[in-house]
Symmetry: C3
Subunit: 392 residues, 3 copies
């Protein structure tokens, strides 16, 4: 008598191989081979910030000479967090006994020790390199000898005098507003969302009304393909009168996406986003878009409200990306998934990640980690490309 009863279900589990991000985990070591945005440059000032990324707690600050620094937070002397440290010209000074560290962890002063600390050079405060570009602070948490070049993206380069970068690091990518500093679920849920053009049809168009653009209500003809160091899809929709639009979206190793304009404006996508793991069950979206200077910032509204303003019933009746992804739990149970034809993009992504995990485990360098500055300019294929003409 198997009637599909929920009685006696077997225990299910996440694919930890893909969801664990801490030091020494397979995917954690893969992710550590790339640069990740951890903050907006404009927020990094003389007041230290707590940053949690890839399961590691760190402290981020900018010394008074202008250099951003990312340090292990516990002062190597007696463990007090540098979050309460004082930022100075040359670095950050622990509040407890005044040890002064520069942005690369060198101990410059130990004021309570004889002669200012005779052994202060023998150890260093653990640190990670950071670089700034496009208004974001990027960090590299991997082995020093494997540090790649911070890539450039062709759609973000050559910013005009009348343009600026619009940046955000936080929960914005899943909620569409600033309600959440951190999204409380696995980075993989967001990563799975990118090469999934079909949810756009259901979640964003049919089920919750038109969230983005009426075109999304049309079921597209979708083609997935490996490209560059990632996966793309081309979703072609017939608009009638001989016109069609090819919406190309890209995902790049290991957690990078470039989604075309959601209002279906034509041309190349002008944004890049990263699904940055905070830890196994939290992430932030780091995003940057090239926009006209002073343009009003997009904030998603469903039934006239931002995500943070909606009631619990409204979240149930008009779900969006957050509900769909957080609804998979803190970490989804992948063993009970039933993937179908429409999930081909996700399968391709996961396969590519798995392959790179193996490669890294064997000592190799994963795709998308560039060591030649010349090669580190990434071409973004994403965009809304209209073809054909409407009859007049």
């Amino acid at each position: 008598m198997n009637d599909g009863s929920a009685y006696g279900r077997k225990p299910q589990h996440p694919n930890r191989h893909l969801t664990d991000v801490g030091p020494g985990t397979p995917c954690g070591e893969l992710l550590r081979r790339y640069w990740h945005p951890i903050a907006e440059s404009r927020n990094v000032k003389d007041l230290p910030l707590r940053v949690r990324v890839l399961g590691e707690d760190l402290v981020l600050f900018r010394d008074r000479a202008g250099n951003a620094g990312l340090l292990y937070p516990r002062c190597m002397h007696r463990g007090t967090t540098l979050y309460y440290g004082r930022v100075e010209e040359r670095g950050i000074r622990c509040c407890y006994h005044g040890w002064l560290f520069d942005v690369e962890g060198r101990c410059l002063e130990q004021p309570c020790e004889p002669d200012g600390g005779r052994h202060r050079d023998s150890v260093r405060q653990p640190w990670y390199p950071v670089e700034e570009r496009y208004g974001l602070v990027f960090a590299y948490l991997g082995p020093p000898a494997k540090k790649p070049v911070l890539p450039r993206y062709d759609n973000l380069e050559n910013i005009g005098a009348d343009e600026e970068y619009w940046t955000t690091v936080g929960g914005f990518g899943s909620t569409g507003d600033a309600s959440l500093a951190v999204a409380p679920y696995s980075w993989l849920h967001m990563n799975d969302n990118v090469m999934d053009p079909f949810h756009v049809h259901v979640l964003h168009s049919t089920l919750s009304g038109i969230q983005f653009h009426e075109q999304f209500a049309l079921l597209p003809k979708v083609d997935f393909f490996y490209a560059d160091h990632g996966v793309c899809y081309s979703a072609v929709r017939q608009l009638g009168d001989g016109q069609e639009v090819d919406r190309v979206s890209s995902w790049l190793m290991p957690n990078i996406m470039s989604v075309p304009d959601i209002q279906m404006r034509p041309g190349q996508s002008l944004g890049i986003a990263w699904s940055v793991p905070v830890d196994d069950s939290h992430f932030v979206m780091g995003m940057v878009m090239k926009v006209p200077r002073g343009a009003a910032r997009f904030e998603l509204r469903l039934s006239g409200k931002t995500w943070g303003e909606m009631t619990e019933e409204e979240h149930q009746r008009i779900p969006g990306d957050y509900e769909a992804q957080a609804g998979q739990g803190p970490i989804s149970l992948h063993s009970e998934e039933h993937l179908g034809t429409s999930d081909r993009g996700i399968m391709m992504q996961r396969r590519l990640i798995e392959k790179q995990i193996e490669l890294v485990a064997q000592g190799g360098d994963p795709v998308g980690a560039f060591f030649d500055p010349e090669a580190a300019l990434v071409r973004i294929r994403s965009g809304n490309f209209y073809r054909g003409t409407r009859s007049p």
Copy 2:
């Protein structure tokens, strides 16, 4: 030198055999052989409800055709919770990719798959059967082949035109008001409270003032006895002038109680309550009473306040059932109990439960699980029965 010092106490532990309610645990499997109320019918509408029962998270809804459905919440496709699903005529549709499930877990549509999902019949969304009666939704979480008939109770049948069912599912049973949706301690604490006529004398009458009725201040002559598929007590109090009252209270396997009117009105008890485990350390009371239509609902007040209005000091100075039971901790440490003569009812209850656990483990059917609809009418012995006459 043994002066009773608290120094060097041995570690103590709950009787997990009776408190664990999850799948595969001895008591969990016993409890799964019975129907349990999980919600009031009037609250089950087109907005899905989260239900946690016996350690399992589920989603409860009513399709637009009127059928209540209880499903495993994670959509079998990619795991998004059906709590954010849309209720339709034929079932509930996942918000993410639109898979539609009926109340028995059949997948009716997969709109993003070719041909609407060629393999959609090969699996089912895990589900449990529900039935509605007396204004409550009952669920059966056990093996399909062992599903018993949902019993009827003689004191709730034959409702008159001028009567109605008063129902509640939540913390009401322990607090007397609607402050708590869930009581934060083991179902066994409440279960132990029923065949314990002596706490009525102390907790509800002497220590905290007269909470229910002045008669409870009289220490009764108590007789415990096994009856039907449970335990009863008869508590006889001499009222003077040759009159006596026999207060009969019942507990039925595995978590059912029928307590007589606490204002000592004469006659059969008109209510039934279930101590339904949410998980090992939480429970809800499901309650139904047959009352005159439009009767004012009882809400306990101590020193003029409902439980939720009392200050911490008032909870300490005027404790009630909640304080006595929550005060045993999330799960009591049964190994350190010192049961006495007055605890005989509890010992009888536990013995009966243990015996049925063993029976179920050996493949048998426990008492109180009926398979013949004719036999499934339970006689309720509970009531306040007055005898003799007061001299005029």
Copy 3:
């Protein structure tokens, strides 16, 4: 390529030998050989208090005859907490079934049992001895046969008619105000703070402005020495014009400190404080000072605000003891410390504690545990001692 990268750090850990305080742990057993203040006498009344100390949950009350009692909270009958018990002339009565216990755990009544409980003398509610002195309630949680005399301190004795004891038990010692009932980190962080005269120079004077007294901005000449049953330091500062001040501070086994007046008033310290572990990662400071009757109570203010009034940014910009100590985490990771010359006092303290742990483990009595009432008068060396004269 070792550039001090934070990549590949080895896991670090606390010195559990010193931080664990529960029953049966090495340091927990050492701490159990001493009396600890657990409450202010004036707060112990007929309303039971929850007390957590050395990882044990207890209930503290004062019977109506005036005796303080400290009992294991779960009633030995059926486990309901005595926090909801009723305090009476002879003890505390459990709310559930009325068992009455005296302050030494004897069961005096069992009102629901035949004959008031024929076996009520066969067991006792677990209890610990308490004594009151200097306005504080002290408890002894160790083996009864090893119970020492509650010591007296010479600086607190012989209180004058115009003097009184100012007492507090809570987070005050780390915050300087009443914001926190319990400080959320290991007792050892506070204990490490005492024989650390150098942090006074940095944290309290240079980095956050002058918190206590301008003299602290002068780096002193420090001498550490073992004295009595603890460690002392003498910190000599040259005030100019031939005058110097010798600030002597004391720490006594296992968690006792006497810090001289922080406004640098001359003479012996008039206070004693205890860093009392609540559990492994929480503590309270018990403090008593002999002060002029009616004197205004000191409350630390930084930039005009009490600790509880400060914003997060102010806590970062003007850190004090709380930030320095809580900043070490719930329990510091001692394996990554880099102790220097200035940490000699801490090393001496830890060495003394370790030695006493070993002694206790071998069945001996640790220093500072007195068994002869005559010997149990402790001389306090702490104070601000001025020498030499300023030229006129």
